[in-house]
Amino acid sequence: MNNTSAKLIVNDEPTSSELAIETRELRKVYGEGNTEVIAMQDASLSVQQGEVVALLGPSGSGKSTFLTAIGLINPPTSGQIWIGGKLVMDGPEAQTDVRAFRRKHIGFVFQKSNLIDFLNARENVQIAMELNGLSHRAAGKRAEELLESLGVGDRANHEVSMLSGGQQQRVAVARALANHPSVLLADEPTAALDSFRGRQVMELFRDVARQHGAGVIVVTHDHRTLDVFDTIYEMEDGIIRVSKSVHRSS
């Protein structure tokens, strides 16, 4: 893998001013009565298309709760989630078929590579597209192209266990991008990588945000790569605050 092979950058600026993600006063409460824990409160933010956002914060601050809420995995107790201008969650009530919506509009990358171990690299990318209705052949072709563009084309037919951590993370990114998502969510994607690989992945997110016009939110502890992001948010005790805005303010 080399540094240049990971670059998909075509623009330095976000491609559109339309909001990719908007959350309004999200609140998540676990338990009730004496055992009640407020994991997230009044969490509001906006991410424009093509914008790359970092979300920092100590463990237990509610970052993952926020990310899974936006990912339509863990519904909030109250508040609204808008994706691509569409209201998808109003409180705990889904306003759409969340699984189908995830499939079409949201890409996920996590700390661990999160690949299916009984599929090879190409099939891991291909399955996401086939689930979205693309034909087997077309999905396979696009999967190979994506892997090629991410510098792991030569590993397309390798088992996941035969790939390095960085290669696995690139395959996961390829899968996340497979269906041209309008939202890309990443939870500590560089935690298992060395600093060089970590930066490569972060730059990759920025590049795909620019190229695909996706809104990208990355939860990270890695302060060495913060220069990659357009906006940096900090989260503490379930509350989100803007820490730094490079290109745009929220």
Binding site: S64, T68, G71, I73, N74, R99, A100, F101, R102, R103, K104, F108, F110, K112, N114, L115, I116, D117, F118, L119, E123, Q126, I127, A128, E130, L131, N132, H136, E159, R175, D187
Partner: protein, 404 residues
């Protein structure tokens, strides 16, 4: 993309071993049905082959295959006088167990009514039917006897002149066919010392009898074998077989002979029913219960295997849900694996069974009916066994990917 096959490809060795295990279990289930069918065929084969219309047996007995039956030789002549009867012949059937070539040889002997019956109806695979009324024998190949081999039985030696295939008695023992007289000689053979003692005893009894004192020539009769003394000997036939004339009233003849006070009479179908309800029925129930238990065990094992396979890929399932896979994709994967496991297990069972069952000491008959029935059962238990795995897969939440 077929996820079920992709998962199997990844764990091919384990899947193959599991399939073979399930297959072996199903083979035993298949074999149980085959053993029952074999019992049934063995029990009814001879009755059907003999082809009599009516069986006359000792009063209140169930015939020579179910229990001991003794009827007098004269019954043949009585039966022949009944209007509508074309022929009546003697039937002697008994089982012996002797040592031969250092091993135990168990055989069912059937006496052929010489000279009318020389065994031409037997399915010979080697040799010929009987050509003389003594010391020749036709043996089934399951007995392991060879053409031309001599077999000492009692005080005589019998030469194997013909070999049959698939001729077994109701108990599954290989059949041997001799003339009626030879079969009686084998059945009633006594040691020489016992004969001498019996003759001496008779002679002593005769010395004190007024009849023998008045007719001394009768004492010569006392030296004959007991079976040749009509006044002394017990009835020596197992049954009398009756063939009726074409168009004759079978029920009427059956009713007439059945009215005789010393015998019972059965049609061939009646004999079959008695055997099936008597000897075979308990075996059938026992085998059926084993089948049910084994099928249940196979279902439980399959369910556990499918459940374990599902647990092994629970992370992948959560991940599939996370990337938006609909439930039908996930359920399809589990169900396909269960059906594949059941289907391949069935194929292994059939392949192994057809190779192994012919080597079993008793006949194992695989009928299409039983095979189809088992295939349906395997299909059903495959679906049922996947339910636990499906339940687990449906329960897993996509955010478990994040927590792992």
């Amino acid at each position: 993309m077929n996820l079920a096959f992709k998962d199997i490809r990844k764990n091919l060795g384990r899947f193959v071993i599991t399939t073979i295990g399930i297959g072996m279990l199903l083979m035993i289930v298949m074999g149980m049905a085959g053993i029952y069918r074999g019992l049934l065929e063995d029990a009814t084969f001879l009755i059907n082959k003999i082809g009599a219309d009516l069986w006359i047996v000792q009063q209140d007995t169930r015939g020579p295959f179910a229990e001991l039956s003794r009827v007098p030789t004269s019954l043949v002549y009585r039966a022949q006088t009944v209007p509508g009867v074309e022929s009546a012949r003697e039937f002697v059937f008994h089982t012996i167990q002797r040592e031969h070539r250092g091993a135990l040889l168990r055989m069912s002997i059937l006496g052929l009514s010489w000279p009318e019956d020389k065994g031409d109806w037997l399915p010979l695979i080697a040799g010929r039917p009987l050509r003389q009324n003594h010391f020749e024998m036709i043996a089934d190949k399951s007995l392991g006897l060879e053409l031309g081999e001599t077999l000492p039985l009692g005080k005589d030696e019998y030469t194997i002149v013909g070999i049959t295939s698939g001729m077994v008695g109701t108990g599954g023992d290989g059949m041997a066919f001799t003339t009626l007289l030879d079969s009686q000689a084998i059945q009633f053979d006594s040691p020489s010392e016992a004969i001498r003692l019996e003759r001496a005893a008779r002679d002593n009894r005769g010395q004190g009898s007024a009849v023998f004192l008045q007719q001394p020539q009768l004492t010569e009769q006392l030296a004959l074998p007991a079976s040749q003394l009509p006044a002394i000997a017990k009835p020596s036939l197992s049954a009398v077989l009756v063939t009726i004339k074409p168009g004759a009233d079978l029920e009427g003849i059956e009713a007439l002979i059945g009215s005789w006070q010393d015998v019972s009479v059965y049609t061939t179908a009646g004999q079959e029913d008695l055997l099936v309800q008597g000897i075979v029925d308990k075996a059938r129930k026992q085998l059926f219960m084993f089948r049910v238990l084994l099928t249940l065990i196979a279902a439980i094992i399959m369910a556990l295997i499918i459940y374990t396979l599902t647990l092994d890929k629970i992370y992948a399932i959560a991940l599939l849900k996370l990337i938006g896979a609909p439930n039908r994709v996930i359920l399809g994967m589990i169900l396909q694996q269960a059906l594949l496991l059941g289907g391949l297990g069935y194929a292994v069972a059939y392949t192994a069974g057809t190779q192994l069952f012919p080597k079993f000491p008793r006949r194992v008959v695989l009928t299409n009916e039983d095979l189809i029935q088992l295939a349906i059962i395997v299909f059903v238990i495959s679906i049922l066994s996947s339910l636990m795995g499906i339940w687990k897969a449906l329960k897993v939440e996509p955010n478990e990917v994040l927590m792992s």
